[in-house]
Amino acid sequence: MKLAVTGKGGSGKTTTSAILARTLARRGHQVVALDCDSNPNLGISLGVGDDETERLVSMRQALDEGEEEHAPGWDEVLDRFGSDAPDGVRLAVVSRIDNPEPGCL
C-alpha cells in the first residue's frame, strides 16, 4: 500500500505517519517512510533523534543546492538519502526535482 498523509500544520500529520509506518512494520510489512515536508520532522517522531534527522535534512539541502547529485533510482534514493529507523522502517528525506539539469526531462 502507498499512503500520503496531509493536513493543516500542527494537526498531527508527522506523528500519525510515524505511528502508521512503525505499526505496519511491526506487522511484517517492509516500510519506507518518506519525509516530503519542507520542514522535515518525521525522524523525530519515528525515533531516530535530532541529530540523525538533521543529517538527512542537510543531505537533501546539499542536493537542492546542487552540491550533491540526484539519485537515479528509488533504491539508490533510499540507500543514499535514507536512514534506518526502529522496527525496520527505512526513512528518507526527499524532495521533488524542481530544477532538473538542462537536457534532462
Binding site: 493543516k8 500544520g9 500542527g10 494537526s11 515536508d37 519542507s38 520542514n39 523525530i44 535530532d50 534527522t53
Partner: protein
C-alpha cells in the same frame, strides 16, 4: 512597530498574531495585520468571519512596457496607503487586514494579488502604519522575501521536540540571511516551570514572552472566535498583552 510571527505549523502563530495586532491597535496604533499564507488562518483570531481578504482585480493593473519591476502593480495613482484604506478588511479595534487570496484561486489572479500585496507592504509608510504579519508554518517562506518588512521576527515555539527543532532551523536561516534581522522566541502552550528555559536553550533564541497553555484560549480557537473577544481575561491573552507592552516599551522607552 513591524513584526512577523513565524514557527512550526500549529505552534499558535495565528492566534497570538491576531491577538497581538488588536492589543497594539488598542494602544492607539494604526495596525495592518497581514497574512501571507495561501491557507490563511489569522482572520479568526482578529474576530473576522472571513479568512481571506485579497485585493480586488480593479486595484491591480499590468505594469506598462518599459517600466522596471514585477509584471503587475497597483493601479496608477493608487498609493499603498490608499489601497489599505479602500480595500483592507476592517477588524475590531480598527485593525485592518490584508491577505492575498487562497491557494484554490485562479493562479493568475493569485499572482496579481500577491504582487500587489507585496508592493503595499514595501511602500506603506512605516511612520503611519504598524505591521503585524502571520507567515505560513515551517521554514520555507520566512526568509525568502515575505517577511522583509519585519524589524523583529517572533518565532512561536511549543516546548516540544519538533517545534524546538523548527525554531532552531529558523534561527539558523535568519543568521544566514543577507540582511541581519532580530529573531526572538515566544514560548507558547507552556506547561512546566522550566519550559520557557528549555525553549531558550534548545532554540538558542531569547524568549521575550511565555504564553501558558490555556484551555479557554484553546476553546476560543476551536470555535473559530477571537480569544480577545471570548476570553479577554485568560492567562494566555494576558501574556500576549505583556508581549505587546514589552515590544512597545523597547521601541519608545516608555511604558504605556
Amino acid at each position: 512597530m513591524r513584526v512577523a510571527f513565524v514557527g512550526k505549523g500549529g505552534a499558535g502563530k495565528s492566534a497570538i498574531a491576531g491577538t497581538f495586532a488588536r492589543l497594539l491597535a488598542r494602544q492607539g496604533h494604526s495596525v495592518l495585520a497581514i497574512d501571507s499564507d495561501p491557507l490563511p488562518g489569522m482572520a479568526f483570531s482578529l474576530g473576522l468571519d472571513r479568512d481571506d481578504a485579497p485585493l480586488p482585480d480593479e486595484a491591480i493593473e499590468d505594469r506598462p512596457d518599459g517600466e522596471e519591476g514585477p509584471r503587475y502593480r497597483l493601479q496608477a495613482g493608487l498609493s499603498a496607503a490608499e489601497a489599505v484604506e479602500r480595500y483592507a478588511a476592517t477588524a475590531p479595534d480598527g485593525v485592518r487586514f490584508l491577505q492575498f487570496g487562497k491557494i484554490r484561486t485562479d493562479p493568475r489572479a493569485l499572482f496579481r494579488s500577491q504582487l500587489a500585496f507585496r508592493q503595499i507592504i514595501r511602500e506603506l509608510p512605516p511612520e503611519q502604519w504598524d505591521l503585524v504579519g502571520d507567515l505560513p508554518g515551517g521554514t520555507r517562506q520566512p526568509f525568502t522575501g515575505w517577511g522583509v518588512y519585519a524589524e523583529t521576527y517572533l518565532v512561536v515555539v511549543e516546548p516540544m521536540a519538533k517545534s524546538l527543532l523548527s525554531a532552531r532551523r529558523l534561527a539558523r536561516l535568519a543568521s544566514a540571511a543577507d540582511t541581519p534581522v532580530r529573531v526572538v522566541a515566544v514560548a507558547n502552550k507552556v506547561v512546566e516551570p522550566d519550559d520557557a528555559e528549555r525553549v531558550a536553550s534548545r532554540s538558542g533564541l531569547e524568549v521575550v514572552a511565555s504564553v501558558p497553555f490555556d484551555r479557554s484560549f484553546a476553546e476560543a480557537e476551536r470555535a473559530g472566535k477571537a480569544p480577545l473577544d471570548v476570553v479577554p481575561e485568560s492567562e494566555a491573552v494576558r501574556a500576549v498583552a505583556c508581549l505587546v507592552e514589552r515590544l512597545t516599551h523597547e521601541r519608545t522607552g516608555v511604558t504605556s
